[in-house]
């Protein structure tokens, strides 16, 4: 288990920290907690802005319960004068947001992870949604004739949280083994992270200038109906023959559909044919078909259904939430067959106070 590198991380947003950055640093802290770090989150006099947020607006506290489990809380009202700086000096790393009146380097810690919305200009108000719009990600999802769509949840902020954790891990490694004598400043921002994730949308030099856009019903990969829900039809060129064999529908053997360019030209017909074949199969049957024929078909499961999913159960992906019967995902990694963070103290102490 990853116990030898336990460290202390201070989540220290400024009072006016934009919500996306607050969520991102909470995700970074959540990963650190799962790996055994002691994480202290600083909460200002206005309270934790994550506390009132549900998964999709109505379920109060879900975001905080997911991101803050097993962290300790330091209420700013409980500290006097420069006490926060003194606390930071005792930590291995601080994660904060870039603020106009303070440089991240002002916080005395070996590693300071400084988050921002943009690389150089954070003047305007932003949301994850508007940054995803600027970064080209929104334009890639949904139907071309309808409004662009966001992905579920808080993908921009969570992805930034992952970027920040990568920088944090590398900086701590360099501190311990690289002979670094200076404090390291790690910088990550929402815009760069989303552009990095959406890199294939930027035309390659010399490639056709046609912009990449959401394809909707004209897309190669589509979601179609089945007997008890929906299934994502996902395949590459090498999978087509196996898909035809699995569905055993001679119409799919139409020579016009034999190569990718032909299937793209008739994407709607291909999807309709596949849907016709799947309408009499349940998602469980499609899952079995996919495994048997080595096909990347994706039955669409709900979070509710996944809490009893056999794959997740077999790998003990979920643990009980501290507040009752809900299930909370663990760190998506096993180390030598065990999942870090899944000990009896998982059901911890959301909001344990640290008094100085």
């Amino acid at each position: 288990m990853l116990h030898a590198i336990n460290y202390t991380l201070l989540e220290a947003p400024t009072r006016d920290c934009p919500l996306p950055l607050r969520i991102a640093m909470a995700m970074t802290g959540r990963i650190a907690v799962d790996l055994g770090a002691r994480v202290v989150k600083v909460v200002g006099s206005d309270g934790d802005p994550l506390f009132g947020l549900g998964a999709r607006g109505s379920e109060e506290g879900a975001l905080s319960r997911f991101l803050s489990a097993r962290k300790q809380t330091l209420h700013l009202g409980d500290v006097k004068g420069n006490a926060l700086a003194a606390i930071a000096a005792d930590t291995d790393a601080v994660i904060t947001n870039r603020a106009s009146n303070r440089e991240g380097g002002d916080l005395p810690s070996d590693v300071v992870v400084e988050l921002s919305c943009f690389a150089n200009d954070d003047a305007g108000k932003v949301s994850e949604f508007t940054v995803a719009a600027l970064a080209g990600l929104l334009s890639m999802v949904g139907d071309p004739d309808r409004e662009p769509l966001k992905l579920a949840g808080h993908q921009p902020a969570y992805a930034l949280g992952l970027s920040a954790y990568l920088g944090l891990a590398a900086a701590l490694y360099a501190r311990d083994f690289g002979g670094a004598t200076r404090r390291e400043i790690v910088r990550a921002n929402l815009m760069d992270t989303i552009v990095w994730l959406n890199w294939k949308a930027i035309p390659m030099p010399g490639a056709d200038a046609e912009p990449q856009m959401r394809a909707g019903a004209g897309g190669e990969w589509q979601v179609v109906r089945c007997a008890d829900g929906y299934v994502a039809i996902v395949y590459q060129e090498a999978d087509w023959e196996r898909l035809c064999t699995a569905l055993d529908d001679p119409r799919l053997r139409d020579p016009a559909l034999a190569v990718r360019v032909g299937r793209l030209r008739e994407a709607g017909r291909v999807a309709s044919l596949i849907e016709e074949n799947l309408l009499h199969l349940t998602r469980a049957e499609i899952r079995q078909l996919a495994i048997e024929h080595r096909l990347p078909l994706g039955p669409v499961w709900s979070p509710s259904e996944l809490t009893t999913d056999t794959q997740y159960a077999g790998r003990e992906f979920f643990a009980a939430d501290a507040h009752g019967g809900s299930r909370v995902p663990g760190l998506p990694m096993m180390v030598n067959g065990q999942r870090p963070g899944f000990t009896s103290d998982l059901n911890a102490e959301t909001g344990q106070r640290v008094r100085r």
Binding site: A135, A170, Q212
Partner: protein, 387 residues
Amino acid sequence: MSALEGCRILDLGIITAGAATSSLLADLGAEVIKIESPSYRDPFRAWMPDGPAMREGAMSPYFRATNRNKRGLSLDLKQAAGREILLRLANRSQGMVENFRRGVLDRLGLGYEILAAVNPALVLASISSQGENGPDAHHVSYGSTLEAVAGMAWHTGYEGDAPVVSGRDVNYPDQVVAIFAASMIVTALHEARSTGRGAHLDLSQRELTSYLIGESFLAVDDDAPPRTGNASAPYVVQDCFRARDGEWVAISVEPHDRPALQDALRISIDDDAEAIKRTLVGWVGERTASDAVAALSEAGIAVATVLTGDRLMGETEGLWDMAIMPQGADGAWFKGFPVQLENDPLAIKSDAPEIGADTRSILSELAGYSASEIDRFAEDGVVELND
């Protein structure tokens, strides 16, 4: 100086998930050796976008993006001599990355136990669709498969309509896993260096995709509509609105934005979300996108034009500076970084390797084989040389 200087990583990763993971490790300063088989290349080498300048023989820009900063070794792991070479290299490395189908590494006789026997401090990162074990371990996937089976697609889509996936051109789970996997490998390298004990990291892309909607599992409500378009807490209204010039404008309105909206749009302070949305449809529809963005931005509302990827380079200057790195005068670019370190900066120091570009030097300098031994390996098809 780079953060991971002195770390050597053997890279058996292909396409995005595996190769982009080790690419980030290379950006951080690790020496990454990309290993391809003479009979099976990284399929990304063959992925070429359409276009006049994509000349025959050119290296795929997708491959370049995910394999820069690496050295190239062509090695046939199906031959005993190839496996022996790999084990010798594993003995002299700190990490290995693979995203083969489950069971392939074991069938090659190169499972974790074998690797750990030659190097107990080695970190092996296995990146897979579903994880190393479980009833779905052999359910193959591409990124959007995982959006479906992990619960993300369930909550992505228009209200009252079918689920939606990010699709082939984004393939979101395949992108995001590289950042997460690289960070877990760095963490495990830290542990291994501290303790002398390596580890087998079993990274399931499906689990990561669920983790990235983790709060949804704490708020299961079977009666709530599964998909709500672009709506999201804490925003009263969040959606895209079509401007007069056909552009889409993304707007997020927080509860405390009501007074500002009241001034800018002449709404009533008591208007509910639907009323505000109706007003925005009309108000944005009467303006060009740039006028709407300017006015709402001035009013302190989060707003932006929805851009396509081809407009990023020209219209978002100053908003990002490391995700894409310009290279040379011909407009070429490299995929850059999602994070940067001030004192130990990530950097692109070399282009992606041609097949077997560094085979001879790696076998000679790292594995200690003589020139005649290397020539014999080449004659036997165990390695490919690019002398």
